[in-house]
Every structure is written in structure tokens, then in C-alpha cells.
Symmetry: C2
Subunit: 282 residues, 2 copies
């Protein structure tokens, strides 16, 4: 298992952690000043910018682009909305390629308004992933399925376990040629009794495209925007990292904290806390 | 599949649905007046009463006692608290036997304060169930493991899926002689991609001791006290009932709605809504 002390280069900051309060350029500078090795921007970070210029800025600063967040939902029942989301995802894949992002993160979406057929929503999600495979491969972009906590099933993601995400990988990308993989976000999967087995499975198949950390405060102040800083909650983050690294994972530890509470603190203080906690807790 | 129209006898009211605002005797009268077939009281309903007298009152009113809620947590790490909880559960099993309750519902508990070892908490929970088996069998009481939604893992229940509950049943009660089974509470398990398969498994092994209904409002106003009335949320309740009944389930449809919003309505109105929605939605 890697020693993370004095290794901020193994850390990555997802820009959601900074509450989108500063530009991606300022974020890159703040990371570089601390020796943080990677950034995962969101699509909103690139508004009004050319992806290639952001990529150059990051490269000049010595900061990797470990991921690009995130897909428009794939589960729309309305065909026009579905087509629009697909088109948005194709444009985002263009940007991901120009960024040189290690992966494009897929959050698949939940039920359609008024819908109760979870099986149908899941089928639309899986079909939506299938529809992106050729475009992603053509652009050289890996697609990262991110299962979200079951508290989000209705509204955000009907893909809720690593097991199901890996099943989709096996179905849609049996030989790995499409580079379809998964994000292991501790906040979303920590509760799962099958977690260790599924992490081992994901590692064997070389499907792990990212490891996201934050913490579970209980009870959660808000299921989406109430995440905790690593060490402040219930998750055995080091245990999860150990399982990943025993399986061969060598990627970054990416901090993704959506939190109204942390968004009230100065950005520099948040970054310092992230570096410290990754080194001491994760 | 049973037709629930004009069959309030197939309905059961868990007293949490009424917010513990009226006595168990008044609840029984209110159920009987509507032809509702069953009640599932909580331990607090029996405070200051003899279980045998409540049982007689229910029998006289023609109301079954479909369950008795619920266990003191089994996951305490502190030995003294663990022993105290065990003693409470033994007393509750005495009451369950006197009530003639169809089962005693086990909610296992979450992590100990400050704990991050979910595997250890789960082991304590399973051991705690094992410790109750002899006493339950001696009293003729079935034990019903209720997996709770993963939003409760840290604070209330580290048992979160039907699959895991059924694994425990297989481990602790291979031949069914201990009458260890499960509650399928739609609110807690509806999101699970493995639900249909695990319901079929539970039915084959004759493990289903109860079917609880409410609905998932999204986003949930509160993960514990923000449940919806059947039909007001995202859950395909009829689909879940169909799977249970195709597997041979013949028990009641038990309404268990913890809701601050419904607790503000008159009890009679809540009961009328339950009967109507069970008939039309479930």
C-alpha cells in the first residue's frame, strides 16, 4: 500500500470540492502551489473556454487531468430530451479528448418524472452508455460509470452498486476494448456488504478508472450537499484504498466533497485540509 | 395475485403510521371499525400494559397481531450496553409471545460511536441475532430481520439488503427450524437491482415474514421521517407485491409510514387514506 505522506502528487481535487467558486485556472494554480498532482474539472468549468487551452494550462503547471465530470443523464424517457442529452455528451467527449482527461464520468440519471419502472430506467441508462461507446473509443476517451448511493436512485442515478456497474461493463465491453470502467466513490459505495468482493472483481478486470473520497456524516445534513471531509465521518477510507491497491490500483486519490458547510470556508483552507486529510486519513 | 379491492382484512397498520398519537386500544378500535385485519404495535405501545390483555383486546376486535416492533440494537460495542440490549430483547420476546405476534422485528443497529469498521459491526449484529435464536424458539416467536435502506447504515442498520439478510438466515437457520426470516419493506429495498431475485429466493426458502409499504418521496424530506403515502412516490409497490405473491406470499400488506407530514393529519384520515391506497395502489 502506498504511503501518502508528503505525496500530494497522488492527490487529485475534483473542482466540486471548491464549490465552483474560482475559475479552473485559479484552481490549477492553487493545486500546483501545493504540489497536488491532479484536477478533475466539471463541464461548467470549461464554459467560455477552449478545452485545449485548459489542458495546456494544466500541463504547464504540472497538473494531470484525472477525470472530466459529468454526463448529461442517460435516462430521459422523452426521445427529444434523450437526443439532446446524447448530443451534449458527444460535445463533452470532444472536450474530454482535448483535455486529455483520463476518463469521462457517467452519472446515469434516475427515473423519469412520474415513472415507477426502475427496470425500464436502468435499461435506458445501459442503452445510453452503449450509445456512447463508439464515440468515446473514436476519441480515445475512457468512460467511467459511477454508481451513486441508493439515496439517489429516483432522482439522480438508478445505477447504485459497483456490482451492477461491473455487470454493465461485462455486457457492453467484454474484452475491455471500449475502455468502459468504474469510479469507486467511497461516499456512494461504502455501505455495500459486497464492496470488497466487487473491488477485487473490478481490479481483476482492470476496470477501476477512479477512486473518490469524502466522508459520510451521520445523519447526513443533506444527501447530496452534506458530504464530510475525510476523517469526519463513518467511512473506513484507508480500508477501501487498501483493497483497491491490493488489487493493483495505482491512480490518484480524488477528493470530491459537495458540501454547503465546506463551501463557506476559504478555498485555500479547503485545499490545505484536503491535502492534510488525504495524507493522514485516506 | 390477490385483488385487494374491498379487502381491508388483508391490510395491516403498523402503529408508527399513526405517530403513536393514540393508545394501542384506540388503534385497534379504529382498525376494527374499518375492517382492517391486522396491527403491528411497537414496544412503546405496551408500556404500562400487560401484553396478554392487548392480545385479548385485539382478538375480541377481530384484529390480528402481524408483528411486534422492534429490537433494541444488536451492534453495541460496549459489553454492558450489549448485555442490556439483549435483556431488553428477551423481555420483548416474552411480550411478543403473549401478544401472539406473528414475528418480532429485528432492526440490527449501525456502527458504534466513532467506529469505522463496518465488517465488525455486521459481525456483532449477526452474533446478536444468533444469541436470540434459542429464546425466540422457546417462546414460539419468529424473528424477522428487516434490512434498512443504505442511508441508515451508520446510525440505524448495518443490514441493508435482502441478500445479506437471507445470507444470515441461511447461516443461522439453515433448516428453518428457528423461524428466522425477513421483512420486505418496500421503502428500504425498492432501489435494489437484485430485488426480484432476492424476493424469489426468500419465497423459495419461505423466509418472508412481512411486507411493509409506504412510498419514496424524492428528494426525501427526511430519510427516516419523510416517508410518503403509497402512490405519492417512486416505488412500484404493486410490482413488488406481484413478485412476493408469485413466490407464494400470503401475508398482509402492512402500512408503515414514519412521516412528520402525515402525523399532522387526524388519525382517522390517515387510516382512511391507508385503506384506500392499499386497495388502489399496492
Amino acid at each position: 500500500m502506498r504511503d501518502l505522506a508528503n505525496r500530494p502528487d497522488l492527490c487529485c481535487i475534483n473542482t466540486a470540492t471548491l464549490g465552483f467558486r474560482i475559475s479552473v485556472e485559479a484552481a490549477i494554480d492553487g493545486l500546483a502551489a501545493r504540489g497536488i498532482g491532479g484536477v478533475s474539472p466539471w463541464r461548467r468549468d470549461l464554459e467560455g473556454r477552449r478545452a485545449a487551452e485548459v489542458a495546456r494550462r494544466a500541463a504547464d503547471a504540472g497538473v494531470r487531468i484525472d477525470g472530466y465530470c459529468r454526463s448529461s443523464y442517460l435516462t430521459h424517457a422523452d426521445p427529444a430530451r434523450r437526443r439532446a442529452a446524447h448530443a451534449e455528451n458527444l460535445r463533452a467527449l470532444d472536450d474530454a479528448a482535448e483535455l486529455g482527461a483520463a476518463c469521462y464520468v457517467l452519472v446515469v440519471g434516475g427515473l423519469a418524472p412520474g415513472e415507477r419502472d426502475l427496470g425500464a430506467a436502468r435499461a435506458r441508462a445501459r442503452d445510453g452508455v452503449a450509445d456512447l461507446l463508439d464515440a468515446a473509443r473514436a476519441r480515445g476517451v475512457a468512460l467511467a460509470l459511477e454508481p451513486l448511493h441508493p439515496v439517489t436512485t429516483a432522482g439522480r442515478s438508478c445505477l447504485n452498486t459497483l456490482a451492477e456497474a461491473l455487470d454493465w461493463c461485462d455486457e457492453l465491453d467484454a474484452d475491455g476494448g471500449n475502455r468502459l470502467g468504474v469510479i469507486v466513490d467511497a461516499y456512494h459505495v461504502w455501505w455495500d456488504a459486497a464492496l470488497a468482493a466487487q473491488i477485487a472483481r473490478a481490479c481483476r478486470a482492470r476496470r477501476v478508472l477512479g477512486f473518490h473520497v469524502s466522508d459520510w456524516i451521520d445523519p447526513p445534513p443533506d444527501p447530496v450537499r452534506g458530504r464530510g471531509m475525510m476523517g469526519d465521518g463513518a467511512i473506513d477510507l484507508r480500508g477501501i484504498r487498501r483493497e483497491l491497491e491490493q488489487g493493483g490500483f495505482e491512480g490518484a486519490v480524488e477528493v470530491e466533497i459537495m458540501s454547503d458547510a465546506w463551501d463557506r470556508r476559504p478555498v485555500g483552507e479547503v485545499l490545505d485540509a484536503c491535502v492534510r486529510r488525504v495524507a493522514t486519513v485516506c
